[in-house]
Amino acid sequence: MTGEPIAGPGQAGPNILIVDDSAIMRTMIKRVAALAGTPLGTIFEAANGREALAILEQHPVQFVFTDLAMPVMTGTELLREMQARDQWRGIVRVVITTDGSDSRRHEVDGLSVSVYVEKPFRPEEMRDVLTSLTTAR
């Protein structure tokens, strides 16, 4: 688990939690998010759903970007846990996954997913997602 401030002193921005079992994928998403041009707070990382829950319990997070297929605890299981907790009701949830099948999309229905991003994605897609989410807040 890591947390890296992106915003400088006095800058306001959402804290983001990136959940993916691939460290290099987390690095890529973090880089794209930082280059998106929207103010960001701290970016946390987790390698699976269980690590993500530990971070959520300790730190205020406004956006969760999560993969689905992960060991220990999948992204779907993480989203179900988040859905069950009132204190996390306001967290924006974004799924980032290679699996764009209809059945997988249906699997996360009712789990408050705002955006479903299929890998591979272009950096500008993530920029557009962040822009739309921060504008909507």
Binding site: D21, M28, R31, D99, S101, S103, K119, P120
Partner: protein, 170 residues
């Protein structure tokens, strides 16, 4: 809903090649195009004889099951990994490059299955990444119709598909 048959190598390889192209263009800022056996052989012969290669394999299950493999030269893997995460290749260690190779195979397999069998449900196993001896590279291209050569940034990448018979009862 089940697929009437598992993908025949030619069908699957062509679509896999398209998936590689999409991954390369979207996430790696690279140009990728399938090449025929002759060009693949020429690209392989042009590589340094003792060069290290990586193979990343992703097994999948569902209405049919199989394994997608991506084999590429180590230096190319490093270059693409650097492009992927926006850093110089020499800033990445071997573990990070291997992680990238696994993620590459994961994205190729996932994109291929999503585009060709969107209405069906598959499970992808975690990628397995290992070294491939130069002497074994040529043998990969000899597999009956199961390997496609792709040129990425003027370097060869081999994409292999092994598809088992449909799962009983699927």
């Amino acid at each position: 809903m089940s697929s009437p048959r598992s993908p025949q190598p030619a069908d699957g390889l062509a679509a896999l090649g398209d998936a590689v192209r999409q991954v390369a263009e979207a996430s790696l800022f690279a140009c990728a195009e399938p090449c025929d056996a002759s060009r693949t052989a020429g690209l392989l012969q042009a590589r340094p004889p003792a060069e290290a290669w990586l193979t990343a394999a992703v097994a999948f299950t569902g209405p049919f099951e199989g394994v997608v493999r991506v084999t590429l030269p180590g230096p190319l893997a490093g270059d693409l990994a650097g492009a992927f995460c926006g850093t110089q290749p020499d800033a990445l260690d071997a573990a990070q490059v291997a992680d990238f190779a696994g993620e590459l195979a994961n994205m190729v397999c996932g994109r291929w299955l999503t585009q060709t069998h969107r209405r069906e449900r598959f499970e992808l196993a975690a990628p397995v990444v290992g070294g491939t001896a130069p002497a074994d590279i040529a043998a990969l291209t000899g597999r009956d119709g199961g390997t496609l050569g792709i040129v990425v940034n003027d370097a060869p990448v081999l994409v292999g598909l092994t598809a088992a018979h449909p799962v009983a009862g699927a």
